[in-house]
């Protein structure tokens, strides 16, 4: 586990951002220390991208204060921009007709690097993100995953102490998503403060140090990933049973567990998988014991949704006060 350095590099206090009558953010506070990966969870429209854009200085809050490296980010000072790397959510953030190398050199020069320095840095970063072989190909020929890795490379041009990542693994296959997460993890190891906005709730386990869950622009949870998991009490499980006698499963199994919950075959009984929903104060062990006592073996048992997903759904769905 990484050490939690201090003091905070990003400090946002009571941020509110209104678009007309709608509040995209409502009193959101957040602190992120150097070396920390801070996950920003929330469903579509929760305010994650708006918060990232405020931290990046691309838009201003209606109320509240936002400090990045001790400077007021809402003033969008140019000197601050070199300190912030942004990996935007969209794919089309490059010049598709020119190569990945030329794209990085161009952005490097806008950061004030001489051409030779920009080229050396671009080649170094392309190797770092595993794109050396594709460096001279037009970006338009890159896959989603390659464009995301190029986007990470661009965000790292100035080795910024702050990295803001918006839905970087959206649309990526698991392997490509893991590659991007590993790149970001490496940066955090070197002391960068990372804000990682995502809807892929399970990717934050073992990856993020802390998490802020947004729902309708408000903070629904802020704390550690284990703390988020602790808010859930999973009640639905998928069981794989043996000797369940599928033809009669519905009635017989229901009678076995009726004191503890409700059980029903998945997929219209075509498989040996069943969905068990516990009721009242029942515990899983009692339901499993009841099945075993009836001569049914429980081969496997796992949660229908992960604990993080349970928390995500439950907390996101809480009505706003």
């Amino acid at each position: 586990m990484r050490m939690m350095p201090s003091p905070p590099i990003i400090e946002a206090h009571e941020l509110t951002r209104r678009f007309g009558d709608r509040a995209a953010l409502d009193g959101v506070s957040l602190t992120v220390a150097g070396g920390e990966i801070h996950a920003l969870l929330g469903p579509n429209g929760a305010g994650k991208t708006t918060l990232l854009r405020i931290l990046a200085g691309l838009t201003t809050p209606t109320h509240g204060e936002v400090g990045v490296l001790g400077a007021d980010a809402s003033k969008a000072e140019r000197s601050l921009r070199a300190q912030i790397g942004l990996v935007p959510s969209g794919d089309r953030t490059f010049y598709l007709r020119i190569s990945g190398l030329e794209n990085l050199v161009f952005f490097g020069r806008l950061h004030g690097m001489r051409r030779s320095r920009a080229r050396a840095r671009a080649e170094e970063l392309l190797a770092y993100v595993g794109l050396s072989d594709a460096a001279r190909r037009p970006v338009g020929t890159y896959s989603h995953g390659m464009q995301k890795r190029l986007s990470v490379a661009r965000a790292l041009l100035t080795a910024p102490p702050v990295l803001l990542v918006d839905e970087a693994t959206h649309d990526l296959d698991p392997e490509a998503a893991a590659d991007v997460r590993e790149l970001v993890r490496e940066l955090a190891r070197h002391g960068a403060a990372v804000v990682w906005a995502t809807q892929r709730v399970d990717e934050i386990r073992g990856f993020a140090d802390r998490v802020t869950l947004l729902g309708e622009g408000r903070v629904r949870f802020a704390g550690s990933v284990p703390g988020l998991i602790a808010t859930t009490d999973a009640r639905t499980f998928i069981l794989r049973l043996r000797n369940a006698q599928l033809g009669d499963a519905g009635g017989r199994l229901t009678r076995m567990v009726c004191a503890h919950g409700v059980i029903a075959p998945l997929d219209d009984g075509g498989t040996d998988h069943f969905l068990l929903s516990l009721t009242g104060d029942s515990v899983l062990g009692d339901a499993v014991a009841a099945l075993q006592a009836g001569g049914v073996s429980v081969v496997t048992c796992h949660r229908e949704r992960s604990e993080i997903e349970e928390a995500f759904v439950a907390l996101s769905a809480e009505p706003s006060p």
């Binding site: 838009t59 201003t60 140019r78 921009r81 020119i98 030329e102 161009f106 051409r115």
Partner: protein, 274 residues
């Protein structure tokens, strides 16, 4: 390095980017020349309908309609291309999704704006020079070599005027999203009252009087006098003196309007929307 110098050294990066993009569309790159040549051919035939004595003389030199219109056409085309490119540069970045990535670099918005137009500001005059040279060889366009540098001075004094108009139009497009049609209408009116295709004296008197203060008309007149009449620095200087304050005013107003529009988009949080 001063802040201004630090911004100026970024312009070659834009130049290279846009050259690489333009070169990736090779057919369009070359068809551009063919289009210009075709237009000139059309005017060459129209010129057969126009008696030379209906045209003004420059420094005592009588000119053909092809010679008269060639200068007007290339300057007018320069204005149209440069204005369109300058005005839509930010909008184009917005549409292709690169605007926020650009604004995340420590680069002034005005540099992004000028940088996005710098390729055309360099390439279009270069193309113009090549084209005029080609015409002088093929259709006998009689250009005074002594007028090349004075005409370049007129063009240089005129470029900031176009840039200022482009900045103002860019601000309007950033605010209203769709405004390219209005801008093209403005550019057409500017061209119509410039004497690019016919002498200003053919216009109704009051329009002709107003048109004499049109910076595009002043630039075209200055370049015709230099390139067709071979007038020297002292005569062209008068045109440059008229153009400099107009260009300064245009640039200051345009930069101010653009800055206001960009600030408004940041406050509204709609910079990335199109």
């Amino acid at each position: 390095m001063t802040a201004v110098a630090a911004e100026l050294v970024k312009l070659p990066a834009f130049l290279r980017r846009d050259f690489l993009v333009a070169w990736s569309y090779r057919l369009a790159f070359f068809s551009d020349f063919v289009g210009l040549a075709t237009q000139m051919l059309v005017f060459a035939f129209i010129g057969r309908l126009v008696a030379d004595d209906r045209l003004p003389s420059f420094n005592g030199a009588e000119v053909s309609y092809v010679e008269f219109v060639a200068i007007g056409l290339v300057v007018n085309l320069f204005v149209q291309i440069a204005l369109t490119r300058t005005a839509t540069a930010i909008r184009t970045e917005q549409m292709i999704g690169t605007l926020e990535a650009l604004l995340m670099t420590p680069t002034a918005a005005a540099t992004v704006q000028l940088g996005s137009a710098v390729f055309d500001l360099v390439y279009v005059p270069l193309r113009t020079a090549i084209f005029l040279g080609f015409l002088s060889l093929v259709v006998g366009l009689d250009l005074e070599s002594a007028g090349i540098l004075p005409s370049a001075a007129v063009l240089l004094a005129f470029i900031p005027f176009v840039w200022g108009l482009g900045l103002a139009a860019a601000g309007a497009i950033l605010t209203f999203r769709r405004g390219a049609g209005g801008m093209m209408l403005g550019a057409t009116l500017l061209g119509l009252a410039s004497g690019a295709f016919f002498p200003l004296s053919l216009l109704p008197h009051w329009i002709a009087t107003l048109a004499e203060y049109n910076p595009l008309a002043i630039a075209i007149q200055g370049m015709r006098e230099a390139l067709l009449g071979g007038t020297g620095w002292s005569e062209v200087g008068g045109h440059v003196l008229l153009l400099v304050p107009a260009s300064a005013l245009s640039l200051v107003c345009g930069a101010l309007l653009f800055r206001l529009a960009l600030g408004r988009e940041r406050r509204r949080g709609t910079l990335g929307l199109y």
